[in-house]
Amino acid sequence: MQKITRDLLVEKAVSLLENGTVDMVLGWKKGEFDYDITPAVFADADSLKDFVFDDFCGANFSKYLISNTKKTASKVLVFLKPCDTYSFNQLLTEHRFDREKVYAVGIPCDGMVDIHKIRAISGEGIAKIECGEKITVSTIYDETVNIEKADVLAERCVTCKSKKHVAYDELLGEDGEVLESARFDEVEKLESMTADERFEFWQGELSRCIRCNACRDVCPACTCEKCVFDNPASPVENKAAANSFEEKMFHIIRAFHVAGRCTDCGECSRVCPQHIPLHLLNRKFIKDIDNFYGEYQAGEEVGSRAPLVNYTTEDLEPGEAVEGR
């Protein structure tokens, strides 16, 4: 398999910029720290010197296409990992950007790493991280730790659902397969709890929420022109912070709003500064939809009718759904 490197991607970007296919590149650049990689827009070949690509480049660029395709008369180059392509298709299903204005390059992915797992091994004070065969961490205490990538893979990569790209104009390297994933194991654990235990679990997790809105801002399904939580005319606007029970409502309402549209890309949990496992809420919905209406993967095809916005005479009746639990 062709190894995807930073230089390969930059070379691709430069050639597409130079032959006029695109006039804008969505990519990653370094933030404050090595592990603090942020999405960036590159307008010319020169600026691509800041382009980085390593095991921290988890950000899903599909959502960025909504605003950036409006800014160009030409095309936007976007690099998409397999999981990103599902969000890409879902946004196309919802008519959120113009496909003609995108040049999508699929890039194979062998998983991204989770800085919190690295820190748990290396300890605090990380000064430098080098991604390679192994992940080499140097600390400000002059210690160097070598870590196996497999030990620090992000949760969503450990339970990766697909290495297959469902959308691209051009694919670098070889495409993978849809995987048998154990992503519902955690959901099953929650389901096996009593109602009280489960309430306590979510109370514990969600009470840490500081309402920074990072999950909403990063979520490729949260693309409303105006979010209901920002709209004073909406009846839920003041429902999310009134008391210790209602503070959970933000996440529950959000999970309902993305139900059937969430591709399980895992960005919500990746960006949460409070480490709330938000993806579990969405996965519970996905699992229920699979159970009740047959397997459905949002974003697998453009224009597919998600079970929740489709009616067939075979649909199960509300009573059956409760029994089928």
Binding site: E94, H95, R96, T223, E225, K226, V228, P235, V309, T313
Partner: protein
Amino acid sequence: MQRIGVFVCWCGSNIAGTVDVQAVSEALKNEPGVVFSANYQYMCSQAGQNMIIDAVKEHNLTGIVVCSCSPRMHEATFRKTAATAGLNPYMVEIANIREQCSWVHKDMLTGTEKAIILGKAAVAKVNLNTPLVAGETPVTKRALVIGGGIAGIQTALDIAEAGFPVDIVETKPTIGGKMAQLDKTFPTLDCAACILTPKMVDVAQNENIRIFSYSEVTEVKGFVGNFDVTVKKKARYVNEDICTGCGACVEKCPMKKVPNEFNLGMDNRSAIYIPFAQAVPKVATIDPNHCNMLKNGRCGVCSKVCAAGAIDYKQQDEYIQEKYGAIVVATGFNPISMDKFDEYAYNQSKDVITSLEFERLTNAAGPTAGKLLRPSDLKHPHTIVFVQCVGSRCASCAEKGKEYCSKICCMYTAKHAMLTRDKYPDTEVYVFYIDVRTPGKSFDEFYRRAVEEYGVHYIKGMVGKVFPEGDKLKVQASDLLNNKQLHIDADLVVLAAAIEPDKSARPLATMLTASMDTNDFFTEAHPKLRPVESPTAGVFLSGTCQGPKDIPETVSQASAAAAKVVSLLVKDKLKGNPCVASSDELMCNGCSSCERVCPYGAITYEDKEFRMPNRTVAIRRVAKVNPAVCQGCGCCTVVCPSGAMDLRGFANRQIIAEVDAICK
């Protein structure tokens, strides 16, 4: 701020018996916006309505809450009252403290508490109500009748008589339905064909009626006054306009071994066939499953003998689109399958038959030319056992039967028994029954005659088992009145099979968005006061699709449905429902979710220019609702992630305000 008046109804003792109405009107006085609160014995009466009108004027009310029965009962009444008082009718909210409160509570304390809470919710909603104005839509002056049995025929004739065009869609090659298969009809014993076929001819000759036979409805769009319907005319491989119904093709067709469905498979027909002599339209139909020409191209006899040249082996299904103002469902019934009733040996012996098969055996146009001969050996049966309630009133055997009473079996069994004894006095006739139910004009007299004058042995008790032995059918039964076990050697056993709605009814109900009960009978808008209307506006019910009925009842209901259709079609315009969805285009994402869930196809999208900061313009895809098509079901408001889609009169804010008032 609204000025709200609260009016609490006693409904005689219906509400006041379990709800302290005085306490309710006192408690609601203190709710935000309420400036007047009173209670009265019958709010819907003239005096009650005047009380509301006077209060509106005296207290300058802007909104009204009536705590009374279900809004399905009197919402329209109180909206009219509000309009008389000069208020917008949509400033009225009903708090249902009868069906959802006084009737379900036994205890005054809890009943009163709940009534107050429901009243508070209604007040909270009225505080957010806005005046709404209904639009108008034109009415297409044509009716569609689905089903060409006696119900559909009568409805179509009555509508046509009033001067409106009607189309009948019938799945079979002929109209006539089940009644065409019957022999005589109770309680007057006139022959079914003699009274039905003239009506069928009337239908064929009526200039206002078109018959789509061998056809089915495949798609229904639109709404009351403006339905768009697609009818599939199945290929019958015979040009209907040219065929004269001479029957030469039927006679010459070499493929004569096709079970004849009109005689319930008790004899055979040819592959090209006319169901019966008086069929309307009298046109031949080729059965593609049995025609050799259609199956393998080897035959073509019918084409050669047809003098009119009507045979067309290349005919295709045809789809016809038509607009209608009203739709009448008259899809009828079928006897249930006897496959699961092994105890009666229906599948083991040809001499165990259903009552409908018995009708064919005694019908002059039937397989035995009207002679009562048993199917196995064509001998005259000397002992006949009739079993009532096979699959009817069968609460304990829901997996094979029906819980309800099929209503017609007692009477037709009395008829069968009486006619048998009349024509063949040497025949012993036994009828096993749970009860004999004969409410109807001249019905009980009819049944008494069967017992007293014709000597039919009516035995209260059920048949436990029937099994063939030699050329007899051994019948084991219990006689409950004499507390005896009976063993009868019968020659023929006739099962009064329960009836069930036709299988086409369920998918049709889905297309029409008309509701059904658990037995797949169509639900009426009100069981007593609106029995021929479906809750879906513009859809009417005729005959057994709504529940088991005999012919007199079916015909009455068919005419009633026609009267309702006519009173709709005479209107030039219909006032729409202003409680429809609308989209706030500034918030709409154009995601198409609402369009996908809309059952009425009321939502479309358009690309719209929006002024953005710095004198720029953005083009966004936004949803648009056609208010004439929208029925206000609210599905779109539920799927809309941004809350751009909202329902007038049932806005998200109003609903949440109600919930908040209840949970406070």
